[in-house]
Every structure is written in structure tokens, then in C-alpha cells.
């Protein structure tokens, strides 16, 4: 089936491409108009930047140059115009290693665990301890690029003591290891996320209900990092709902459930104590999607207003956040601190404070928010403009730095991810970058 599908997919794409309309008569003119518009906006940006620097120079003592680049924090300049983003904007063409900006964020770990297992780091726990997922024997190279379903366990690695403590094996014993010759074993569905003492993750389990019939479930698990006791929080039939990434929030675990039809609309946000209990849908959350921790944003289709209501599904707190308007063509995605999205005409990008005060809108590339929405990441680029590495930016402190070619952006569906990692070659030490260090205010 797969081969036929893949072959047909190739044919279908080629045939569809052949049926695509050709260029309009004014195609080249339109391209030139867009280019002129970009040039004009960039010119205005540079002029604004120069003006801002001159004004700053007459009023303040210019800080001496330091090895750490610090762009001015957007939130400390309430009078800054959105069109004058001289401060708070990374300048990726100036190489600025993130390891020099946040030296304590960098951890060098051995290529394998003490028992020889390959692993992937999911969180820095402190005290030289790391929440890791165990990968199959023989897994080599950059752990970041390993397929999620290949993980076989959730463990705590104490790098100082050279010990590993198992929290859970994946897939759990309740699942079938191999449901049939053409059916893969079940496995991890979301990388574990940690908040304080709570770690949570999702897997897919397959239960044989007969010789020829199997049922698939998405399971959500949680455990105490300290005690390591894993608890099955809920089990949702795959046919019933699509389960989003479970996120720890204090002593609770929250997740979004989506309809299984093609619209895939969020049908509600659920919460359950991490220690176990009965999952309950948070009232009034149909149509909301979790964005960072317990914060959710309406999953609207179009930007038809300037504000939106961010909702904390645990406390019920609501805050008004910008979602669009004159300066933003597209909806902004918000966390409790920052919003990120596109600037006007989609030729620039924006990161603005969630309280609606002005922020940088002339970013040269799109940034996504991670580590609970506190730090912004974007794909880096080499001298030819090709994607390479990751730019780490704390828009609050103005600090930014670049991670090298071994690093890649995390999946945007897991915005609570708190670490990045890279390995220069198989057998080399694993380098871990702790985003929670970069997201600190100072």
C-alpha cells in the first residue's frame, strides 16, 4: 500500500503541477513592485535606526563594547515606535555564539549513558541531572533528529554520579509490542515535558482485542521527577479524538483535544492532577488551543479584530493580547509575556509584548516562542542564506546568540520545549543548550 501510495503521490503531484495556471502578464511587474516595497521599508528602518542611535548618543553614555551582545530590551523603551526597531532586534549576520552569551546554558554530556544506551535530553533538572529519553541500541548521530517513536524509556540521568534512574519504559507493558507483521509497535507520541517536579508525555498503545482486531489509544502519562512513579492519567481512543501535546503546569497536566475530522478543530482543553484523577474538560475552552503551559488562545480563522483573550485554563485568568491590526497582517501567537507573528505585508516579522505595548516589527525572519513563551527562536542562516543553526533571542533582556549548524529548531507544536541539543558527529559529546537560562530576564 505504501509503495502504491507513494507512486501515486508522485504522479498526482506532477499532474497537478502541470495543470497549474501560468504567470499572469504583469507577473514580473508585480515582483518588481514587491521588491521596491521591501527596499523602501528597509530604507525607512535603517533611517529610523540611525536616528534612534543619534538621539541615544546625545542623551546617554554609550555602553562600552563587551563580548556579549545586548540589544536594548523592547519593554524598557515604551516610547519606541513599532517602525523604529533599532533596539531589541538580533543582527544574525554578526556571529554571536550563544554559548558565550549564556555560558551556563551549555552542558557537555557523554555520547552514551553509562550502560551504553543512546539518549535524548528533554530537560535540564539541575544538580547535573537531566530528564532523558532512551533511544534504541545503536542509535548514533544527532539525538535531536531521532524519530520520536523510537524512544524506549523515560529516565533521569545523573551525570555527576553516572547513574540512570528509570521512570517509565515505552511503550508501556499494557501495549502490544508487535500487533502484527505489518503493524508497527506502539511508541512515544510526544517528548516528555517537565515543570518543577512533574514530567508528562504521551504515547500510543495498541491493544489486541481479538486475533484480527486491534484498538489504538493515545495515553497520557505523568510522573514525579523525584520519586519516578509513573501514573497513567488517561487513555483516549484514537478514533475518538486527536490528543495534543500534554503539558505540565504546576501540579496539573493539561492538553488540547481535537476533532478527528479533517477540520481538526480543537474541541476542548482538558486537565487532570499529575498525581492522577479524573480528567475534566475546562468549561468554555471549546475552540481554544494551548499555546504555552496552561495558557490558551482562541483558534480563530482570521484576524478581524485587534485583540484576543488569552486564557489560563487553571486559574481562569484572562488577559487581552494583540492579534492583528494595522501593523500585523496575520494573527500573532501569544504567550503570557510575548506574541510572535508577521508584520505588515508579510515582508517582515514581529515579536511584541503580550500587553500590547510596541515591540520590534522589522525582524528579518520569523521567530517562534519556546520555553513557555519566554524565549524566541528562529532558523539561522549561512552566508548564502541557507538555513543553518538556530538564533536564540530573549526579547526581554535583549540578549541574543547563535547556535551552530548541529542545532535545529524544535517542532513548533511543542512550544514548551526547554532544551536544544546537538552532536557534531557520532561518538562526540552531546551538547545541550538550556533555554531556561537564556529566557531569564537578565
Amino acid at each position: 500500500v505504501t509503495d502504491r501510495l507513494e507512486h501515486s503521490l508522485t504522479r498526482t503531484l506532477e499532474a497537478a503541477a502541470e495543470s497549474a495556471p501560468g504567470p499572469a502578464v504583469d507577473f514580473l511587474d508585480t515582483v518588481r513592485r514587491r521588491q521596491r516595497r521591501r527596499r523602501t521599508r528597509r530604507g525607512l528602518t535603517v533611517a529610523s535606526a540611525v536616528l534612534a542611535l543619534c538621539l541615544a548618543g546625545t542623551l546617554t553614555v554609550v555602553a562600552h563594547l563587551s563580548p556579549v551582545h545586548r540589544s536594548g530590551p523592547a519593554t524598557t523603551n515604551p516610547t519606541a515606535s513599532p517602525s523604529a526597531p533599532a533596539h531589541g532586534v538580533p543582527a544574525p549576520r554578526i556571529a554571536q555564539p550563544a554559548g558565550r552569551v549564556w555560558p551556563s546554558a551549555v552542558h557537555a554530556l557523554p555520547p552514551n549513558l553509562p550502560d551504553g544506551s543512546a539518549y535524548r535530553v528533554n530537560a535540564v533538572l539541575g544538580g547535573d541531572r537531566y530528564l532523558v529519553t532512551i533511544l534504541p541500541p545503536g542509535t548514533a548521530g544527532v539525538a535531536e533528529s531521532v524519530a520520536i517513536d523510537s524512544a524506549t524509556g523515560v529516565d533521569v540521568f545523573d551525570a555527576a554520579a553516572h547513574t540512570v534512574r528509570t521512570i517509565a519504559t515505552v511503550p508501556p507493558p499494557t501495549g502490544g509490542a508487535m500487533a502484527g507483521p505489518d503493524i508497527p509497535r506502539t511508541g512515544l507520541r510526544s517528548w516528555p515535558l517537565v515543570d518543577g517536579d512533574v514530567v508528562t508525555w504521551a504515547d500510543t498503545a495498541t491493544t489486541a482485542t481479538g486475533t484480527a482486531r486491534h484498538e489504538s489509544y493515545t495515553e497520557i502519562w505523568a510522573a514525579s521527577v523525584a520519586t519516578g512513579r509513573a501514573v497513567l492519567l488517561t487513555r483516549v481512543p484514537v478514533a475518538q479524538a486527536d490528543v495534543g501535546v500534554p503539558r505540565p503546569a504546576g501540579t496539573m497536566v493539561v492538553w488540547t483535544q481535537y476533532a478527528t475530522d479533517k477540520q481538526h478543530a480543537p474541541v476542548g482543553i482538558y486537565r487532570v492532577p499529575a498525581a492522577g484523577g479524573t480528567p475534566a474538560q475546562v468549561p468554555g475552552t471549546a475552540g481554544y488551543d494551548l499555546v504555552a503551559g496552561a495558557w490558551a488562545q482562541p483558534a480563530g480563522q482570521l484576524v478581524d479584530g485587534r485583540t484576543d483573550q488569552l486564557l489560563n485554563v487553571l486559574t481562569g485568568r484572562r488577559m487581552t493580547v494583540p492579534v492583528g491590526g494595522d501593523e500585523h497582517d496575520r494573527r500573532l501567537e501569544c504567550g503570557p509575556a510575548w506574541c510572535a507573528g508577521a508584520g505588515a505585508e508579510r515582508i517582515s516579522f514581529a515579536v511584541v509584548p503580550a500587553d500590547g505595548s510596541p515591540g520590534p516589527t522589522e525582524l528579518d525572519r520569523p521567530y517562534g516562542l519556546f520555553d513557555g513563551g519566554r524565549v524566541a527562536l528562529a532558523a539561522g542562516s549561512d552566508s548564502h542564506g541557507n538555513p543553518q543553526g538556530v538564533i536564540v533571542w530573549n526579547p526581554g533582556s535583549g540578549l541574543w546568540g547563535e547556535l551552530g549548524a548541529g542545532y535545529a529548531l524544535p517542532d513548533p507544536a511543542t512550544a514548551d520545549v526547554s532544551v536544544l541539543q546537538a552532536q557534531s558527529r557520532p561518538g562526540a559529546p552531546v551538547e545541550v543548550f538550556d533555554l531556561s537560562v537564556a529566557s531569564r530576564r537578565t
Partner: protein
Amino acid sequence: MEFEEFVRARSAALLRYGYVLAGNPHDAADLCQEALARLASTWSRVRNKTNPEGYVRTTMARLHINRWRRTRRESLVGEVPERGYADAGFDRVDGGSALWTALVALPPRQRTVLVLRYYEHHSDEEIAAVLGVSRGTVRSQAARGLDKLRAGWAGAAPQAAGYPTAGPPAGGRPAASHPAASHPAASHQDRTATGRSS
């Protein structure tokens, strides 16, 4: 070659690429023109150092993905009203209109990965480089996209070696009784690759 000459020579091909990426001619033109405008600003440097068409195609894919990043929640409900995508092009796709409809119904990032793999014939490593994500993300996105396409495929596809004349319901869910059709890990690629990152 001058920029104008390049545009005249390659715009049709780039629009075809944009069409399979975006799923409709309007967004295809938007993607293509935006990428070309960016190329125009750096034409001399790109022409001398890299392949301009590769630059444009990479830019188009990244623009498309980044658009998804900013609007992923919008797209969950935003695609259906625009299913007027089923324009003239689909009907002319030999036996593949149902598959194309299902492909268009995929989330944009999954569709982009499948387009780069099955239309551009990139390896997963190349796709990861183009999109600036990890290879694991590419594989999981491809697996999920194929899962959704495959959901109705097994039942709808002819048993013989021919190609389908009827595809699955667009975006239909995998059958719950068949975990291979529902789990992200269920792709041929993932099974054979054993999750390694060689």
C-alpha cells in the same frame, strides 16, 4: 543571465512548484512573487554563488512553512472554506483528484514535507536543511501526512498494480481498528529506518 530573463524563463516552473506547495493558484503566485522579490534584492550575490532557482525554491518552502507556523491554529479551520481549490487543475489529474484533494486537506507543513519528498525528490536530510528543522521532525511530519492519506487508501486503491481512480475521503481519520493507519510511527520509512539518525 539577468534577473528579468531568469523570471521570464523560470516563472512558469516556479508557479507549478508553488501550486503543489500551496494548493491553489493565488497562494502559489503570492509565494512565488515574494520569493522572487527577495531574490531580486540579492540577485548579483546569489547568481554568482548559488543556484538562483534553488534559492527561490528554498525561500518558497520556508515562506510556506513559516506562514504555517504563524497561522497553524488558523489553518485548522481555515482550509475548508477554501476547498474551492478543486479548480480546473484537479479534474485533469489522471485518477488522482481524490488524492490531490486529500493532499490539499493536510496541514500545510505535512503537505510541504510530502511535496519536497515526492515532487522535488529531496532526501529527508535535504528537506530538513531546506526547512531548518531536524530530520526527525521531517520524518514524523511525513509519516503523519502519509498516514492520513493512507487512511482510506487501502480500501480505495485497486488491488492490482494500477493506480487509484478513487481516493480516500479528504483528510479522513485512520480506522481505529488498524493501528498502522493511525499511529505516526506507522510509515514504511519509520519502520525501516529504525529511528536512527545516521
